[in-house]
């Protein structure tokens, strides 16, 4: 990015000095991202409908344009021309602002993602926390939408959605803390740099799984999609929205899904890195383009996985969801965090720059030792969790079995 | 950063504090009172961080203090709102003036 700034300064446009050139370049990049994110919606909706159709053994849209590629444009035209109905006693201001706020939160998340070596919107040293904060803003938008519609179903849908979102925010934040502990910094750029040895998906697979699952729940995609639940509570919190506002809510959901794929790719799969090639060392234009392409490949892989999940798994019930979140994921993530922190302390290379850190006792084994130890810890914690859960399930099953097979006492049908 | 003198920050914090106190004294609904108390706590935090930045930027104790205040505010909001909900469930109203069964 510095190269582009220098080029702009060398053009000698009046009033353009170095800082103004930097500002202009940043604005253009921001405009590209802010437009590309919803524009990616077009590709995403087409992909989604085709993939789910193929999983369900049918063809999907193939009338509008070759292979149905113009279907999204047809949908957009339909949405623009739909009547914009506002319910009678709805709270006008809040009703109108809520979809915009949701879209705003989803697009703002792209500010901290490093797209290529040297190309990040901003190098905040608290980038990971920024993601969490923006997620909270999206939750607020759902609450506003549910309340302002003056509709019992919308309110109920909003309650369930926010309960689920708050539950799954905790494992997500804990896995982010794990990534920060292993990378040694909360800045996304530093996290990508720290993965130049080994990607975090290899050294912390369980953390990756938990982050991805919680992220899918945060976005509200199937199988966690009781947020929309088209067959249950009409349409959840966006029951009363039609036309453009509904379009904006849809855009917010797809952009959020896109953003989650970007986060997973950057935090666990090394971002713009390619295995065995040092992308940052390549000459300037190639590094950026190659990095961006590799990142997009990873992102679309995760998008495909999310659509695959949607086409395959049935929806979870709200109480199952909350039980799974609070009683399984939260304790699992906490124990995993303690394990990861312990391993990192053991393997920490000492440093005397800035705040002095004493070297850990096993730091002689270096990076490969740390990777192996993290992997072993992850698998051990997962194994422990599965053992605990299966023994608990066995106890519950045997209790139910005993209740069913009891002859004397007038026992009702076995509950669980 | 010195383009904004310290007294401006303290004045804004004082304004926020006064508005919060006014809200705590004059709102009918218990939740409204809780919201005003959050404003007061935010004003205190602004003061703490402004003092940290202007008077002792090398000593991180200012931010430590502010983070402890945020945490305590969170705990207090949680318990306060649980109380309000429990009261609403029993008495059917969250208006503070109507909760007077202890009055003579």
């Amino acid at each position: 990015m510095q190269g582009v700034i220098d080029f702009l300064v060398s053009l000698n446009i009046p009033y353009v000095n170095a800082s103004v050139a930097r500002y202009i370049v940043l604005q253009v990049l921001a405009a590209i991202v802010a437009v590309a994110a919803p524009a990616g919606l077009i590709i995403l909706t087409w992909l989604e409908r085709k993939i789910i159709a193929r999983i369900q053994d049918r063809l999907g849209p193939n009338r509008a344009g070759p292979f149905g590629l113009l279907q999204a444009i047809a949908d957009m035209v339909k949405m623009f021309t739909k009547e914009d109905i506002t319910p009678a006693k709805a709270d006008r201001l809040v009703y109108n602002i809520a979809p915009g706020l949701g879209m705003f939160a989803a697009i703002m998340a792209f500010a901290v993602i490093p797209f290529a070596p040297g190309f990040a919107g901003t190098q905040m040293n608290v980038g990971l926390l920024y993601i969490v904060a923006i997620g909270g803003l999206g939750t607020l938008a759902i609450l506003m939408a549910g309340w302002a519609s003056n509709n019992k179903y919308a309110l109920l849908g909003a309650f369930r959605a926010v309960a689920m979102l708050l539950t799954y925010e905790i494992p997500m934040v804990m896995t982010l803390v794990m990534v920060a502990v292993v990378a040694g910094s909360m800045s996304m750029v530093d996290v990508v740099e720290a993965q130049s040895g080994m990607w975090f998906v290899v050294s912390m697979p369980v953390a990756f799984l938990i982050f991805f699952l919680s992220g899918v729940a945060e976005v509200g995609r199937s199988p966690f999609d009781l947020v929309e639940a088209e067959s249950e509570i009409i349409a959840g919190f966006h029951t009363e929205y039609s036309g453009i506002k509904f379009g904006m809510i849809m855009i917010a959901e797809y952009v959020h899904m896109f953003a989650l794929s970007f986060f997973t790719a950057v935090l666990f799969l090394g971002g713009w890195q390619i295995p065995f090639i040092d992308v940052a060392a390549l000459p300037a234009p190639f590094a950026a383009i190659l990095g961006l392409i590799s990142l997009l490949v990873k992102v679309f892989f995760f998008v495909f996985v999310m659509m695959w999940l949607r086409g395959t798994l049935p929806r979870f019930r709200i109480d199952h969801l909350l039980d799974f979140g609070w009683k399984f994921l939260v304790p699992l993530t906490l124990v995993l965090l303690i394990g990861v922190a312990f391993v990192i302390r053991l393997f920490a290379p000492g440093s005397s720059v800035g705040i002095p850190v004493a070297a850990g006792p096993l730091s002689g084994l270096g990076m490969p030792g740390q990777v192996v130890a993290l992997l072993v810890t992850n698998l051990l914690v997962l194994g422990l969790a599965l053992v605990v859960v299966s023994s608990a399930a066995r106890r519950t099953r045997s209790k139910a079995l005993r209740a069913v097979s009891a002859v004397d006492s007038p026992v009702p049908t076995a509950g669980k | 950063m010195m383009t904004i003198p310290l007294s401006w920050w303290l004045t804004v914090a004082a304004a926020l504090f006064s508005i919060g106190v006014y809200g705590a004294l004059t709102r009918k609904n218990a939740i409204g009172i809780l919201m005003s108390i959050e404003l007061v706590l935010n004003a205190v935090n602004i003061n703490l961080v402004a003092f940290w930045r202007y008077i002792a930027p090398h000593d991180i104790s200012g931010q430590v203090f502010a983070i402890v205040v945020i945490t305590v505010a969170a705990a207090e909001a949680v318990v306060g709102l649980a109380l309000v909900l429990a009261v609403f469930r029993r008495r059917g109203s969250a208006i503070v003036e109507e909760l007077d069964i202890l009055k003579q």
Binding site: Y15 | S18, L34, A82
Partner: protein, 180 residues
Amino acid sequence: MFMPSNFDPSQIPLVPIVFWIMTLFTVGGAIGVVSSKKLFHSGLYLVLSFFGVAGYYVLLSAGFMAVVQLMVYVGAIAILILFAVMFSRRPMAAESQANRQWWLGLPLMLVLFVVLVVTVGSVAWPVSGAEPTADTVQQLGVAFLGSYLIPFEVVSVLLSVALIGAIILARGKVEGEETN
């Protein structure tokens, strides 16, 4: 054209402009909280005020505090307050939210504000022109696990107690239990 030839766009004083915008958010939001007729709108004005305060923290070079403010206040406390509002209101009622003593509270607030401003303005604060170092997050970590370890642990216990207490308070009647 209509700008002097020595106009340098990088010299536009951004900091005071941002300060005034954030003040508008904060103080405007606060006034909205205490004077709005609908409780839900008060909650939303409170969120606006929190955003303003987060902007203040960024201006004061406390970036970590700004993000923590957004995460804790907007992402948790504000949502909790809005939940409580939604659970406990007859929906959409728009009666006035001020109690019978509001005419007394207004001059009290003004007196308090004037006293605070005069007191604060009359002190010669020992302002040091130093800049904070860039690694505040690391310093915070060292402080919390070093010299401020006991407050850290006490605050954790406080949060656990608040969590358990809130669950018990808000649980209501559970079948099969007796209340005494």
